[in-house]
Symmetry: C2
Subunit: 263 residues, 2 copies
C-alpha cells in the first residue's frame, strides 16, 4: 500500500509454480487464469479497483495456450497488461504476477483491524474449490472450474471496504486465514463449523477438509455486529478478546493442521 499523488495504490505479487500450486497436466490457459485471478483477489480484499498487471512467465511449448488464457482473464476483468518478461526454463514452469490497483476507500481494509464483538463473515461458498480439485484430479463429480478458474470478488470487495474492520481473501483455507486475521488483530476468533456455507452435496466428513482447503478466494471480513453486508455473505463466527488461542472452532481448540501453510 503506497500513497502516490493523492491516490492510494495497492500492489500485490503472487507466484504459482508447476507441481506446487497446480497439477503438471493443467491446461496452461487455466494456469494463466489462476495466476491473474489470485492476484486480483488480493486487490479485491483491499477494496481496490485494478489498474493493471505485470506478468513474469516461463514459457515453454504450451505458450500459445498460456497467452490465450491470459487474454481471456484480462478481458473478463477489463485489466490491461502493463508489462512483463519471459524466460525459457529448463525445469518446472513458474509464473509471477504483480497487480496494481487503486484504493476505492481509505483507510484500506487490512487483516489487522478486527475488534472484539465484531461478527466474522465470508462471501460465497467454501468448499467448491476442494470439490473442483477432486474433479480435476480424479474425475470425481463436480465442476473443476471452481478450482481451476477462481473468481476474484472485486465488486464485493469494493462494496464491503467502507464498512468492514478487517478483510482478507481466503487463499489458504478459511480456518488458517481466520487464525491469521485473529493474530494480526490481537484477538481470538471463534468459528461455528455448522454455519460455514458449504456447497450442497458436501459429505459431512469433508466439512473440516473444506474449511481447511484453500483456493476458494472468497472474502473473509470482520464487521460490527449490527452490520448487514450488501453482498451475498454468511456469518460464520465472532471476534472475541484475545484468549490463549487465536482460533476456536465451536468454542474449542481446532485441529493442528488448519490449511495450506506456505513453506
Amino acid at each position: 500500500v503506497i500513497d502516490v499523488g493523492g491516490e492510494t495504490l495497492i500492489l500485490t505479487h503472487d507466484m504459482i509454480a508447476e507441481g506446487v500450486h497446480y497439477l503438471p497436466a493443467t491446461d496452461p490457459a487455466d494456469v494463466a487464469w489462476k495466476l491473474v485471478a489470485v492476484n486480483l483477489s488480493d486487490l479485491a480484499a483491499k477494496g481496490a479497483e485494478p489498474i493493471g498487471l505485470l506478468i513474469g512467465a516461463s514459457l515453454t511449448a504450451d505458450s500459445a495456450a498460456f497467452v490465450e488464457g491470459l487474454r481471456a482473464v484480462l478481458i473478463e476483468y477489463g485489466v490491461p497488461l502493463l508489462g512483463g518478461d519471459t524466460v525459457s526454463p529448463a525445469g518446472e514452469a513458474m509464473f509471477g504476477c504483480t497487480a496494481i490497483g487503486r484504493a476505492t476507500h481509505r483507510p484500506v481494509p487490512l487483516r489487522s483491524g478486527a475488534k472484539p464483538g465484531d461478527a466474522l463473515w465470508v462471501t460465497g461458498t467454501i468448499g467448491l474449490a476442494l470439490l473442483g480439485f477432486r474433479t480435476a484430479k480424479d474425475g470425481a463429480d463436480g465442476d473443476p472450474a471452481s478450482y481451476l478458474r477462481p473468481v476474484p470478488r472485486l465488486a464485493e470487495g469494493r462494496a464491503l471496504a467502507p464498512h468492514v474492520r478487517a478483510m482478507m481473501d481466503v487463499s489458504d483455507g478459511l480456518l488458517l486465514d481466520a487464525r491469521r486475521m485473529a493474530e494480526a488483530s490481537g484477538c481470538t476468533i471463534d468459528i461455528a463449523l455448522g454455519s460455514i456455507p458449504f456447497p450442497a452435496g458436501l459429505d459431512s466428513a469433508d466439512r473440516l477438509a473444506a474449511a481447511s482447503w484453500g483456493d476458494d478466494y472468497e472474502l473473509l471480513f470482520a464487521a460490527p455486529a449490527d452490520f448487514e453486508p450488501p453482498v451475498r455473505a454468511t456469518r460464520v463466527g465472532t471476534v472475541l478478546p484475545a484468549g490463549p488461542e487465536p482460533l476456536l472452532l465451536d468454542g474449542a481448540s481446532p485441529p493442528d493442521r488448519l490449511g495450506y501453510e506456505h513453506e
Copy 2:
C-alpha cells in the same frame, strides 16, 4: 507507464533464471543484487525515481544468502520492499522483480523518440560486464563485480530525462539495443565502433564482442546534436533518416548477431 492522481508511474518486471541469466554456481547474494539492479536500470532509463519493489523468489537451501544480497541492494539504493511471494521449486531457481517508480520528467523518455540529426550517446564504459563474466566463469583477469553487481544509472537517468529524445538501458548489447531504438524511432542509427568507450585492456579482437554483449546496464540516449550531457557519456553515433537497414556500423551493414536476443 501509467498516470495516477497527477503522477506518472513507471512499472517494470524482469525475471532472472538459473542457467539462463546466471551461472548455477553464482552466489545467491549476487543473484538478488542483479535481480533488483536490472529492474532499477529500467527505471533509470525512464528518468524515474524508485518507489519500491516486489520480489517473487524461488527459495532453496541458499535462501539466507539471497535475503542478505537483497537487503544489501535495497539499502544501497534506498528502495523499500513492498511485497512479494516465495515458492520452493523442484527445478532451477527463478526470480521475478517488479519495480515501481515515479517519473521525474514528463513526457517520460521512450526508446522511440530519436530524430534524424540527433547524436547517439552512451554513459560509462561498454565491455566491463564481458570482462567480469570471463573472470567469474574462468578466473580471467578482471573485476567480476561489473558482471555480477551491475549499477543502475539512476542519477544519470534523472539528469538526462529532461533533455533526451530517446533513452533505454543497454541490457542486451549496445548494437542490438541501438537497433531497437532505431526501429522504434523509425530511423537508422550509425555507430562508429572506434568511438565506443571500451575499457582499457580490452583486446581489439574483443571490441565487437563487447559491443554485442549485454549486462553493462549503461544508458543509451539520443539527443539534439548540440546537447552536452551533464553526466559522463560518450558520443558513439548519429541518427539518420530511415534507410534500408536500421543499424549501421561505421556506415556499413553490421554482423548478423548483434547481441543477446531473448527467446
